[in-house]
Symmetry: C2
Subunit: 373 residues, 2 copies
Amino acid sequence: VWSPHVEQGNPTPGRELADISTPALILDLDVLEKNIARMQNLVSGSGLKLRPHAKTHKSLEVARRQLSAGAVGVTVGTLGEAEVFADGGVDDIFVAYPLVVAGEKARRLRALHERVSLRVGVDSAEGARTLAAATAGTAPLDVLVECDSGERRSGVPASQAAELAVAAAREGLHVAGVFTHGGHGYGPTPVRAEAGADELRVLAEAASELQRAGLEPTVLSAGATPTVAYSSAPPVTEQRPGTYVFNDGNQLAFSACDAADIALTVLTTVISDAAVPGQVIVDAGSKAIAREPNELIPGLGSLRELPGSNVHNVNDYHGFVQLSGAPDVCIGDRLHVVPNHVCPVVNLFERYYVVRRGEIVDIWPIEARAKSQ
Amino acid sequence: VWSPHVEQGNPTPGRELADISTPALILDLDVLEKNIARMQNLVSGSGLKLRPHAKTHKSLEVARRQLSAGAVGVTVGTLGEAEVFADGGVDDIFVAYPLVVAGEKARRLRALHERVSLRVGVDSAEGARTLAAATAGTAPLDVLVECDSGERRSGVPASQAAELAVAAAREGLHVAGVFTHGGHGYGPTPVRAEAGADELRVLAEAASELQRAGLEPTVLSAGATPTVAYSSAPPVTEQRPGTYVFNDGNQLAFSACDAADIALTVLTTVISDAAVPGQVIVDAGSKAIAREPNELIPGLGSLRELPGSNVHNVNDYHGFVQLSGAPDVCIGDRLHVVPNHVCPVVNLFERYYVVRRGEIVDIWPIEARAKSQ
């Protein structure tokens, strides 16, 4: 369906990396392409379908490249994101979130259901009722029952999946299967492996329960970048990783990627060194790199040009950097920050500057930015 | 110059608070008006000028109300914010940030300088050189020398202000005065009082140094919501608080406002209670309430309808609430979150739902959202 975007078709004459205003998102196209291909190969090679979580990139152009590489559709976290991708031509969308709808959001859900192939998460009978009411009189809405595999966030225990599925079916929804998110796998390799095994076990158990209740679950969907390598086996049918497309400091800390796999950085400028000896201030603050500490690594973002230094604190437009050693850093210098957690970072920007071998080759809008509703 | 916006001129027929999609920003107009009037009275009553920091609200409509109440102009943190307010008709703007410009940003600075009354911060000779180069051949750009009064973020010590001011003047800039930000005053009342006194002392000392060097500083600008009450005295001429316009959990924790002074909340929906007994999940996560812990108060945002409970953790679209006691909370319930730090929260949304006595009376766009460059 998708043909790769021709980047020369959207030229940016005279636009040099040194010319753009900071802070700015810099997306390395070579790394992006490698990340997309690697994950597609891993998941396809295991006989599973890949449905990448688009909350990471929020970009039609990135989604098109994932679909072109073999993804079966996209995953999103909000109805607003789903609408953006539907508007952009993506016609197979899973909202991996236990939506509870009323008022305007109920009308929006119904409208979207009537124009694309839509699946929605459910983890309560009350939620199921709101979904059924919103789509009454249309073709039954596909839902997946969310199961908790250890993250302790949302989702029912596998042992309660059938009861909820039966209740949802009674409301008039079509229960297509079950899903889980191994979010407790954001940790070192043994933690990742165990969380992946949890996803496998819980999905298998929940699907069996549904079958015993007379339902036919066809989708068993797992998903989290750190656990994909450990949960890609039958009976799981689908993976929904998001962060792999760019990677970030967290994935690096978890050994879920290498430094060469980081596709996205925040370009920032050193704007002050006046207040504290050994400290410089960069123009990437909480509104550019987000405040996302990780107990495994120091600070909120590492600095590619300054190994051993990091952005250790942020105000709205100020990033605090305690210099390690006595590096040659001057006011006006530009540095690349690798943020700890890339998803909330992307949500803060309007566009990607897309580079190949250090040259800007394109600018892509972030269409689903701020679509949290 | 400004006439108050006529909210009836922008009706939202049939738009009920219960109908809107969550998470959503809810702005209480009565409280907003009280906050604007109170701060204007405090600052004007001390004989100072008020130049509110617009990074908090990022809204032309809110800025117009501040100007209509007597503010002399706006303060911003980025050139992108300045451009938005200039486009909206605000013609007196201070970028309270040590801008360092090159390339596109240098051209943008020059263009803005040529169309509005613009002041820019400076805290290094290198920065001053970039500002002078960007505006060469135009009327001299007004700059204020940033002094550190104890925040230890940016700004030179008062003792070095004159040297920097002379260097800036030599570059061809017009040194209009000095500014500081008592950011170290984000704390309990004694901390606020001391930081306010620091602002006063440092600005007075820096201005004296400039005078001794033959310069004529006419602007001595202080600013931070928690310190305004303690630094509004001669020789300070101007205050730049931002957060006061909405207030937030931090200001409440610092006793810099009362609960009745909170104008902005995040409306959220309870969407899950399946995974952990006593825990509910709301649809306001890090992309709706920001991750801004405050060591004085638990959690990331308090819940108006659930005293004693708070959002204690966030993922992108999930807010974790550990219920205190056994309140009657159901899936689908709507709750108002008072976020700890309102500035990064506003930056995450596209619009304010403006309410008076619980009824939506208007919708205002957040024009300067994501303008961090």
